[in-house]
């Protein structure tokens, strides 16, 4: 442990080297995976990467600001559909999606611009929705953002001429591969990590600690909340785009309340506010659910994954409410007190018992 700590210390003082080192290791792993793993295994790893993007970006906005948004699937859907429409073969667009404007109908983009466009559309939607929705307090916000999922689903269902409605888009080009997915994972981690540890991150943290106090210190909390929400939505849109081009089909029901739930579980298991924790939880849950899928099919026990996940979530909330990693980052936490659990953060926002006098 001492040797590891020493190396961590040295690397911490040279983040650029650490970053480049991690990128190289990651690249080597992806090259290995692309060369030797089966398509199924690569798909599982791809899902894990998409889930990392989702969990980390949600952890960024939910965890750091304490704003409980469940709207990620709505933004995934927007990003996924936007990108899918852009990469869809132009020949088929004219017959299958007659409602598209001319310039989209005739063009056929590659994955990167399509993904970016998906992220931007999701971010713009978040900007528009965010103005009213973010004025709501905690639990109202959660339900309103669930409502956002329903609204987006209904809209996509009804805009047949550009989305094919309930039938969905099938036969999308399989453009996502581990390079693209993990490239985006790296971008997501880099951006959120930088923001979390820059002064903006601290301002966001102070929103979570005490809304009123930080307002009086002068933090422009409305803008910060909106920014965190929009950035989260951008990455959700990207994740939706990558997902669509990995699975190669997309329907209005591809992402829903269960998706929101799974992402929330990742964030909670990871410890709210902990980006690395969220990423690790995302990997663990993706592997568990993909591994369980054949079992579900074999014993005809559909819903098993959700049952296991929900039980795990409830158990963690009951017995380890600070998450598996707490709100610190496991990497940066001092290693001198390994046995000591992270301190509870539950003294703020106690609900239900407002009048315990002091």
């Amino acid at each position: 442990m001492t040797g590891g700590t020493g190396m961590m210390d040295r690397l911490r003082h040279n983040p650029a080297a650490l970053g480049i080192g991690l990128l190289l290791i990651g690249a080597a792993l992806i090259a290995g995976a692309e060369a030797w793993l089966t398509p199924f295994e690569r798909t599982v790893i791809g899902f894990a990467g998409i889930n990392i993007i989702l969990a980390v970006s949600l952890s960024f906005s939910n965890g750091l600001t304490g704003l409980f948004s469940l709207g990620h699937p709505a933004f995934m859907m927007l990003g996924g559909y936007t990108a899918a429409i852009l990469t869809f073969p132009a020949m088929r667009k004219s017959t299958m999606l007659p409602g598209l404007p001319e310039f989209i109908a005739t063009s056929e983009l590659s994955l990167l611009p399509a993904t970016l466009a998906g992220g931007v559309v999701a971010a713009v939607a978040a900007l528009i929705a965010g103005f009213p929705v973010l004025r709501l307090r905690g639990h109202y916000l959660a339900v309103a953002t669930l409502g956002l999922i329903v609204i987006v689903q209904v809209l996509i269902n009804n805009m047949d001429s550009i989305t094919r409605g309930a039938i969905g888009l099938a036969g999308l080009p399989r453009l996502s591969n581990l390079w693209w997915i993990y490239g985006w994972v790296a971008v997501t981690l880099f951006v959120t990590w930088q923001l979390k540890h820059a002064s903006l991150g601290r301002a966001l943290m102070s929103i979570r600690e005490n809304e009123l106090a930080s307002a009086s210190i002068g933090v422009r909390r409305a803008r910060l909340k909106l920014f965190a929400f929009v950035l989260g939505a951008f990455f959700a849109g990207v994740a939706g785009a990558l997902w669509a081009h990995l699975v190669t089909n997309l329907t209005p029901n591809s992402f829903g309340i269960v998706t929101a739930f799974m992402i929330v579980v990742m964030v909670v298991l990871g410890g709210s506010g902990s980006l690395i924790g969220a990423a690790l939880a995302a990997i663990a849950l993706s592997v568990i659910s993909e591994a369980a899928r054949p079992i579900e099919r074999a014993i005809d026990a559909y819903g098993l994954v959700q049952i296991v996940t929900a039980t795990l979530l409830i158990a963690v909330l009951l017995f380890r409410p600070q998450g598996l990693f707490g709100s610190g980052e496991p990497v940066t936490r001092r290693m001198t007190t390994p046995g000591k659990p992270p301190s509870k953060t539950s003294h703020e926002h106690r609900g239900g018992f407002p009048n315990e006098t002091s």
Partner: protein, 258 residues
């Protein structure tokens, strides 16, 4: 000192990460009025909350002389402590603002199943005629003084043997305070022991037999009320600035309901 009705021995109490009571010991004798004096955040409310079971001590003991022998309170739930005969009239009155005056009194008698509840209500309506007039109003519509009378009566509805009052003078006009303290003396005269927590030391020492001073979670001074009233450090810290306190910054605006 008469036989102890309540005995608190060396309790240590924490709220989250901070220790609010540090080795606090005190006792309240049968039939006494005992005052606990101290400033904001000294640990007065925490002491009462620990006795009534809202807070749990990390160590120490609290013993109450129950009808059938001494009982340890530290592991009892609040409702069982009320059942033993301890009533706690909380800081800031905390009447149920959305409930009528009558309903508040019914809640005070929640654990009673005897047929004397109506008679008791009648009795207190004689003492506080204003409450009879307001019986069907929501408690939140009462003035601060009326709420205090209601809170006091509500606490008495459980027919306690020990009545604990947390800052009954807080935010009230001087003549209302006088009226409340007159009642407190009457209550004791009828056999109920009173444990009184106050910032208003002058008022409290006037009615109390004995008193304790608490600072930063520790009992610093204790003795007979008359002695404490003469004690130079008490005079300086609690009585010297008492006049500015009673009308000054620590008192919220008059008659605002909480």
């Amino acid at each position: 000192m008469p036989d102890a009705l309540l005995k608190v021995e060396s309790i240590n109490v924490w709220r989250g990460a901070s220790q609010v009571l540090n080795d606090v010991s005190l006792s309240v004798g049968q039939g006494e009025i005992v005052a606990l004096l101290g400033g904001n955040g000294a640990g007065k409310t925490s002491t009462l909350s620990t006795i009534s079971g809202l807070l749990r001590p990390k160590s120490g003991s609290i013993t109450f002389a129950g009808e059938s022998g001494p009982v340890s309170l530290t592991s009892l739930r609040p409702e069982n402590i009320v059942k033993l005969g301890i009533a706690h009239c909380p800081e800031g009155r905390q009447v149920f603002g959305g409930l009528s005056v009558m309903e508040n009194l019914r809640m005070g008698a929640y654990l009673r199943h005897d047929d004397q509840i109506g008679a008791d209500v009648e009795h207190y309506f004689e003492l506080f005629p204003i409450l009879r007039e307001r019986a069907d109003l929501k408690a939140g519509q009462l003035s601060g003084g009326e709420q205090m009378m209601l809170a006091l009566t509500r606490a008495l509805m459980s027919r306690p043997r020990l009545l604990m009052l947390d800052e009954p003078s807080l935010g009230l006009a001087p003549q209302v305070i006088d009226q409340i303290f007159d009642r407190i003396e009457e209550i004791r005269a009828q056999g109920t022991t009173v444990f009184l927590v106050e910032q208003n030391a002058a008022m409290a020492l006037e009615v109390a037999d004995r008193a304790y001073v608490i600072e930063n979670g520790k009992i610093t001074i204790s003795g007979n009320a008359s002695e404490l009233a003469e004690d130079p450090s008490v005079r300086e810290a609690y009585l010297g600035i008492e006049t500015t306190q009673a009308t000054g910054a620590e008192i919220p605006p008059m008659e605002t309901s909480s």
